[in-house]
Amino acid sequence: MNWLQQLFSRRGQYEALSEEIQAHLDEKVEELVAGGMSREDANHVARREFGNPALTEEDGREVWRWASIEDFFTDIHHGWRSLRHNPVFTVVGLLTIAIGIGANAAVFSVVNSVLLKPLNYPHSEQLVSLHQIAPGAAGLADFENGLLLSGSMYFTYAKHNRAFQALGTWDTGVANVTGLAEPEQVRGIGVSDGLLQALAVPPAVGRWFTAEDQDPHGPQRVILSDGYWRRHFGADRSVIGRNLMVDSHSREIVGVMPPGFRVANEDFDVMVPLALDRAKLILAGFGLHGIARLKPGVTMAQANADIIRMLPIWMDSWSNGPGSNPHWYERWKITPQLRPLKQEVVGNVSDVLWVVMGTLGLVMLIACANVTNLLLVRIEARQQELAVRAALGAAWGRIVRGLLVESTMLGLLGGALGAVLASAGVHFLVAMGPANLPRLQEISLDGRTLAFTLILSVLSGLLFGLIPALKYAGPRSSLELRSAGRTFSVSKERHRARNLLVIGQVAMALVLLVSAGLMIRTFQALRTVEPGFTDAAHLQLMRISIPESLVAQPEMVTRTQNAILDKLAAIPGVKSVGFVNVMPMEGFESGWDEIYAEDKNYAEAIPSRCAFSNMVRRDFCRLPERAWSPDATSPGAISTNSARW
């Protein structure tokens, strides 16, 4: 008979027992009467020889009772009653815990979704970002993205590597989709062959791009994201084979990716093949992000070595044009620093998140200290009750357990409330959508977060219950019966626990205050950084991209841009308009050009004259006060950052 059956058969056992005892007495009486005794005497004797039937029954039942569990339920019942009878204490305690646990659970769900969960690709641990640095490139390539891949690099790596199952590159951009309803600017992403194969996420409908789709002169194809497909085609599966006008090229829709699919951290609406033209590629043009899937068993170090092996092949196979020295790049000391794709996606946000998590841990401790203090005060009022219970023979372990059950219930209720708060907080965060938080769409309260909340609730419940329980329900509490009844003066010793708590709380609060102050100061300092332009409130930003296919000749570009500028300037309230390639403070996109001074002779083309260039048109420099010299508006003039020359 296992314990579960016992639990259910218990009632049957009890009934059998009482019936049996009755039968026993009856049989005894019958026998005595048969022996010639009067029935009254027989009853009496039977009772005497049997002992106390009620006590016997009780003892018999005791055997079947599952003492600890039943006492536990009694404790819960008591705890619940005690919480209900002190609504003010309960509400204050609950709110304190709920806020503490809620904040922790919310941040944990972010930490869990962003940092702990693997990326949304099959065997995502095999995925690496082809990150490389070029310490010899004198500040050209040592920023966050390192040295991106050039098209020729991609072809070299894809052909000659031994370490990867699949390897591909990607780049983002905007695309204009016309011909559906209103023309729309959408987020586009260009991918090379091998990228989808490396990420290995099957399409929801249709197929991936094949090598054939990468032919720059072949038929043009496009893959849609799930969101775009739903918005514009109502999730119609027959969309495959239809045509979409992307940047005024008609492209055949060949597939739809599943919901939540992203390339690294890049969301997109339409995906097109990069369709790199081998014939036009040179060594340079470092603008592609690379992703590869390691072969099973290949380590990061082996993969790095593989890239190092391929770099000379790259320089031998391609050139920067006649007269240039392909091995010139040796000076750049290009070094592969492959890293897990997850690290690339998460970036440096992990430090920040752990700091926030730690900070909220302190907040939680303070909340616990607060509730402990509340419990200490309350338990002093309950001295009499506890002393009476102890005097009536309650084991002090039992009393401690009762108090712990009560505080754990408080913790659990607070935790449940906290989970609700956390859920609201996470929804708010996702809705707010901070730009620099990767994997934002993946953030949710999942099982792991709930488990974390549960553990936190129980632990905090035990933590703030243990101190008062041990302090007041100890073996000496029977002594308090006298003193607690008569006087309410609080001894120094009783004060000590509360004093310690207050000291701890103030110390932790001070740490938090100082950290918060430092952060606010950093934020303020950031606000006063000179952005290079003034009156930001009156600047409006608008992004356009003119498809190359629409404006074949350079003059057409100028004319189209001028027409756009004129129309914008004609809008009432617009004072001036201008074009720029990259906005101030927007970071560097790789717009690289070689710049030569007219009056100097150069022995060879020196790509170190490469500069990050930014195209500026018309009134742009009237907008920023000082970043660019005014003569940049005349055609053919350039202005440079003085530090470089």
Partner: protein
Amino acid sequence: MKKSAQRDLFPGALEMMILRTLKRQPLHGYALVQHIKRTSNDLLQIEEGSLYPALQRLLKEELVKAEWGISSTNRRVRIYTLTPAGAKRLEREVSSFERMLQGITQVLAPGKA
């Protein structure tokens, strides 16, 4: 903790006697207690009721099992039978009891100390 039945017996003695008795034949509660009393020539002062908690313990440990049946005096009674586990337990208890008894006897034996 007062198990009045065991005031004069050492813990487990009653259970041991029950198991031994049931080994001979299955019995119901009343017959069981009568048998024990009779066999001990009424030397053991057992409250008849104390048998029942002991039986419950044995039931719980699955050393005996109980089934409703009809007694020789035509009563509906619960008849207890020894289980194989109970037989094994009895063997162990008896041998350890005998060793204990031997020890006590040697200590108590006059002249030898």
